[in-house]
């Protein structure tokens, strides 16, 4: 294996050649969406130029090719995750949010009864909160929250109490605000010991850390292609085959049926049951290329690279700004990913981001779709910088330079 070299990754990303406000772009918003390598763009182009056709049921050559691309991406996703049941456990959706809605509607709607509890956490993205609230309105379930400690970790001191009456634990693998990496494997063991299933929001963790579903022993994994060098418009739901088989369909329409008559319908089996209508085919071509690319880099290498960048950035932020810039996330880099949320004393995150933009620095201000977490820490927003496999220490240099300017300007 060759040594991981972020500079080589950079050379593969066309967008990184851009200049913003007269300076080379400093992209620190991979937590929101990752940049796209040329091989992914080319795979999508190639699909449209040579293979485009609707999938399934076509008998002509290109329809077979399009179907093969689509189904190969499903198999590649299963391999990437080490899914115990192979590609029959991979459902393609339009994004991770839709995957959560599918989970709540089809699994929750089939298996939850009034009074049952879904246990989420205070650090969840709204995508892993609102669908459960919607289900609460429909079915009268309870949505319970694992608290977050002052040092930005899940507070599991009363995990047995929290698990009382719980049918599903649904937590993030890595917080999109704090960077906290949660002990998913341990949570899975505790959930199972208490008769509950566990779903994981892998939008950040699958994109930045190695994921082995056999090792983690979870029941559902949800993530999206565009956060892992793939295209937008494609989400993934992985679920154990027996769970998928028992779940009610989600959206109705073509492709998800076994039979339809004037009397009614019977649903298809396997992932198709949840994939009504023409799916995102070109996007799966892109995902397939992204997965090959990530496997070539090695997820463990990516995680180690981003871990180093994070440690360096946290140290220098503390050194240069002290109390003026507070990091909303663990100071300890163990079990922590490359998401750095900043609260700059006296400067609103929107103003921070605006000044940074002048330096070509892309960070994201706002609540990051995690308002309960913001409220927990008495904030309305943060300015969030996040790393990707193409990030360099140089990006942190520019971030710090621009931050100094913001602090000075509003000081």
């Amino acid at each position: 294996m060759t040594r991981f070299d972020a500079r080589r990754v950079r050379a593969d990303i066309p967008l990184l050649t851009r200049e913003i406000n007269g300076r080379p772009i400093t992209y620190l918003d991979s937590g929101a969406s990752s940049l796209t390598p040329r091989c992914v763009i080319e795979a999508i182009d190639r699909y449209y130029e040579l293979h485009h056709a609707n999938v399934h049921r076509g008998v002509y050559q290109t329809a077979n090719e399009a179907t093969a691309i689509y189904e190969n991406a499903r198999a590649a996703t299963a391999r990437f995750l080490n899914a115990p049941g192979g590609s029959d456990e991979i459902v393609f959706t339009k994004n991770a949010t839709e995957s959560f809605n599918l989970l709540a509607h089809s699994w929750g709607g089939s298996f939850l009864e009034p009074g049952d509890v879904v246990l989420v956490s205070e650090m969840e993205h709204h995508a892993n909160i609102v669908p459960w609230f919607q289900l609460r309105e429909r079915l009268g379930i309870e949505v319970r929250f694992i608290p977050v400690t002052d040092d930005f970790r899940l507070d599991l001191s009363d995990v047995e109490g929290l698990l009382r009456g719980v049918k599903l634990v649904s937590v993030t693998g890595m917080s999109n605000v704090l960077g906290t990496i949660n002990p998913v494997k341990e949570l899975a063991a505790i959930a199972h010991a208490n008769g509950a299933l566990i779903a994981v929001d892998g939008a950040q963790s699958v994109a930045h850390l190695p994921t082995d579903l056999v090792d983690l022993d979870v029941d559902f994994m949800i993530f999206s292609a565009h956060k892992m060098l793939g295209p937008t418009g494609l989400g993934i739901l992985w679920a154990r085959a027996e769970l998928l088989a028992a779940m009610a369909p989600f959206l109705g329409g073509g492709g998800m049926i076994k039979d339809v008559s004037v009397e009614g319908f019977s649903p298809a089996t396997g992932p198709s049951k949840f994939e009504a209508g023409t799916p995102p085919i070109a996007q799966t071509a892109g995902l397939g290329a992204a997965l090959r690319y990530l496997e070539g880099l090695g997820m463990a290498n990516i995680a180690a690279h981003e871990h180093d960048l994070t440690g360096d950035a946290l140290t220098r932020l503390e050194l240069e700004f002290g109390g003026r810039v507070r990091v909303i996330g663990p100071a300890d880099t163990r079990e922590r990913g490359g998401v750095i949320s900043l609260d700059v004393d006296g400067v609103h995150p929107h103003d921070v981001a605006q000044v940074l933009d002048q330096f070509g620095v892309c960070v994201r201000p706002g609540h990051h779709c995690a308002k309960p977490l913001m409220k927990r820490f008495g904030l309305s927003a943060t300015a969030r910088a996040s790393f990707g496999p193409y990030s360099l220490v140089r990006d942190t240099d520019v971030l710090l330079e621009a931050l100094s300017h913001a602090v000075e300007m509003f000081g």
């Binding site: 609103h348 995150p349 929107h350 309305s380």
Partner: protein
């Protein structure tokens, strides 16, 4: 290219650091909340209206948000306090026009725009916010207080 100086004029930073008319008014003063759900900014407007004479006797504001939303609310309070309701309505209309018209004029010619220049003079210190239109995502920050005040006036049927 629009520079930071277009956005963060000294008057804006001054009103951000030292907001005018900050605080609350006790009932029977009218209270209206304004939210920007996208960024979480929040402004609460308290108005004390002298209905008999048609005058905005007092205005106070609380809330939190970026420098643009907070300075805009401070500048607004200074501009409308003690004015007749007709003048307040007119100032709101002129300011909101400034936040929209200017952009289309930039697109069209980029030359001088006499009508806007006249408006800018009428707006006094508020004209410092004119640069916001060059940063379209920030327009909603600048207009939050104004929309909230307009809503408060509507609610009091003033």
């Amino acid at each position: 290219m629009a520079g930071l100086d277009d956005l963060y004029r000294e008057i804006i930073l001054d009103h951000y650091r030292s907001p005018r008319n900050r605080g609350e008014l006790a009932p029977p003063a009218h209270r209206t909340e304004g939210f920007n759900p996208l960024c979480g900014d929040e402004i609460v407007v308290y108005i004390d209206v002298d209905v008999d004479n048609g005058v905005l006797r007092d205005i106070k504001l609380t809330g939190h948000g970026c420098s643009i939303s907070q300075s805009s609310s401070s500048l607004m309070s200074a501009a409308v306090k003690g004015k007749t309701l007709a003048q307040v309505r007119e100032t709101i209309a002129t300011f909101k026009q400034l936040m929209t018209v200017h952009e289309s004029q930039l697109d069209a010619e980029g030359g001088s725009a006499p009508s806007v220049d006249a408006d800018l003079r009428r707006l006094g210190e508020l004209a410092a916010l004119a640069g916001v239109v060059k940063f379209p995502v920030r327009i909603k920050c600048a207009t939050l207080a104004w929309n909230t005040l307009a809503q408060a006036l509507d609610e009091t049927s003033a």
